[in-house]
């Protein structure tokens, strides 16, 4: 099917310059041959209006919870409990943001922990996944196919299965309540998907440049460093973003592998603090939520292009 499509696509592509310049109006006229011109434009306008209405509905759905998050975060304590709720605070206040640095709920510590763990996880993931994905994409060696299948399957494994064994393992190694325990486990969890994405991204890259460099006498290490790495940067950035997102979000193992409040990451800290002791302080919670969402939103905004191309090339075309 896809072959059929692509051949057809090629055929039409050849005609593209013609159809773009001169043929386009003809086609449009032919399409609407039976309609008078007025009916056609009215119909076009109607469909445009419908599209914008649908867009508005979907955007309200997509953005309303975020709006509610922002609006609650600037409400005074009592207003957050009003029934009926107020859409926009009568007396907006930044109080909930101002008290965050005072660290009453350990927020600053959680944020710091999450930042450390996520940054190290990202680097470690890139360090391990980039070479592995490259090798699995470029080299045909005995067992390569089964390795690829294992990685593909591992990506789907339920990590909860190893919950207890991993806990026991880290306890034996005296690593409970440490950064390495969190970093090592988060890295391992994001590895299969990361390797797969790098592999997929490398698969879409032509090998000509690498071959040329090899012919010119460059060593394999040099080729990887100087030729391959620069062209797979979008894939690497996407993988890094995913590793960061995974460890920023991870709750199950953050709860299990840490017990001391000093070591909690944001998700674990939120679950153990806000729902227990600070249950009734919604505006504070929402302000903290806005702040912890910012790093991811910022990263995504900055690297959106690379993330989209890396993700689609890696996960889809791979």
């Amino acid at each position: 099917m896809s072959k059929h499509l692509s051949s057809k696509n090629k055929a039409t592509n050849n005609l593209l310059p013609v159809s773009e310049s001169a043929e386009a109006p003809t086609i449009a006229v032919r399409a609407g041959a039976r309609m008078t011109k007025g009916v056609r434009t009215r119909r076009l306008k109607l469909s445009r209006v419908l599209i914008y209405i649908a867009l508005a509905v979907l955007l309200i759905y997509a953005f309303f919870p975020t709006f509610w998050l922002l609006s609650t975060s600037i409400k005074p304590q009592l207003e957050a409990f009003q029934n009926p709720p107020t859409w926009w605070p009568h007396a907006p206040t930044l109080y909930s943001y101002q008290i965050l640095p005072q660290d009453q709920q350990g927020f600053v510590q959680y944020f710091k922990n999450s930042l450390i763990v996520s940054i190290f996880t990202t680097f470690l993931t890139l360090l391990a996944a980039t070479p592995a994905g490259y090798v699995l994409s470029r080299f045909k060696f005995r067992g390569a196919r089964s390795l690829i299948l294992i990685i593909l399957a591992t990506q789907m494994f339920p990590y909860v299965t190893i919950l207890i064994s991993l806990y026991t393992l880290f306890r034996q190694l005296h690593l409970l309540n440490t950064y390495p325990a969190l970093i090592l486990s988060f890295t391992t969890f994001s590895l299969p998907f990361s390797i797969w994405m790098v592999k997929g991204f490398c698969d879409t890259m032509p090998t000509d440049l690498e071959d040329a460099a090899r012919v010119d006498g460059m060593g394999r290490v040099g080729v990887l460093w100087a030729i391959v790495l620069p062209i797979i940067i979008p894939g690497v950035v996407a993988v890094g973003f995913f590793a960061f997102l995974t460890s920023w979000n991870e709750l199950l193992y953050a709860l299990t592998l840490t017990s001391s409040p000093d070591m909690r990451t944001i998700p674990a800290g939120f679950v153990l603090t806000y729902i227990g002791e600070f249950q009734d302080r919604w505006p504070d919670m929402m302000a903290a939520s806005v702040v912890v969402s910012l790093p991811i939103v910022a990263l995504f905004t900055i690297f959106q292009k690379q993330i989209v191309s890396g993700l689609t090339a890696g996960a889809i075309k791979g």
Binding site: N9, I27, I51, T66, F81, M156, S165, L191, V215
Partner: protein, 323 residues
Amino acid sequence: MALTNTAGQSTAVRPTGIPKYRRGLNGPLFIFVLLLPSFVLLIGIFFYPIINTIILSFQSLNLTDPLNNQWVGLGNYGKILSNSVFGFWNSVRFSILFSVCATVIAFLIGLAFALILNQRLRFQLLWRGLALIPWVIPYVVVSYLFFYMFNSEYGIINHVLTSINLFGWQPVPRPLAWFGGTGQLAAVATIFAAIWNKFPFFTLMLLAGLQTIPQDLLDAATVDGAGAWGRFWHVTVPGLRGIIAITTTLMFIWSLNEFAIIWAMTNGGPGDATNNMVVNIYRTGFLNESISYAATMGVLWLLMLLVFTYFYIRIMEGKAETR
């Protein structure tokens, strides 16, 4: 090392121009070294604990009485599968229900968004950015936000639902107790939160897929007399088939292993109503300290997911062949 290779290479170059394996870092060792970090991590932190879990599942370890640990053979499996402890099948049922609902509805919303964002619009990038925001909001934030919005006393959702009044007909006359009662509403609430968090993944992927469908093909269909529906069904859908198969399978399996959203919202309750498999294993192993039962459920869940994984691999392999 590189120098010695350069010296030997010019004579050893094959017609295709690509040198063969050599010793040192230019040969098989290169592959080994590059794969090593991933191997060490996956074996040490993943495969070794899995084997350990399988061993635990044949024992009777309970932390309330850790010294009394015996081999029980398949005893744990018998008890778990016959549902006499810890409601295994209840968790399987809710996990699948949660996953199917979340995946299907998130897919439909994501597809609708992608189709609209694929049109020529004003401020397109802004709309796309807004549509993708839910995806980058941390899970815990998503669950608390929805927990607050679903609050039975002062939540906005109850407020909106109770104020619906169509000519005297009120579908929801009194506020709903979302997180109480039999728990069906709690299940709806968790699924609702998950859908909101997950649909942007589909939007992103399907939008990327839509942009690979050539406009000429759509124009050609128009010339052949196809309406909007015909173009969608006969051109767009076939063009997206691969992406649809992969993204829905991925999302389905990811949702089967959802923990953060459910745990932060309901702790698996009320009762066992939202006790999906991951929550169940966490509760059994860490709150009840019944280590071996938790391990048994973990192994059974792994086996069940392997079935879905098999289909996923088939799809990916099929994809690789057609490419």
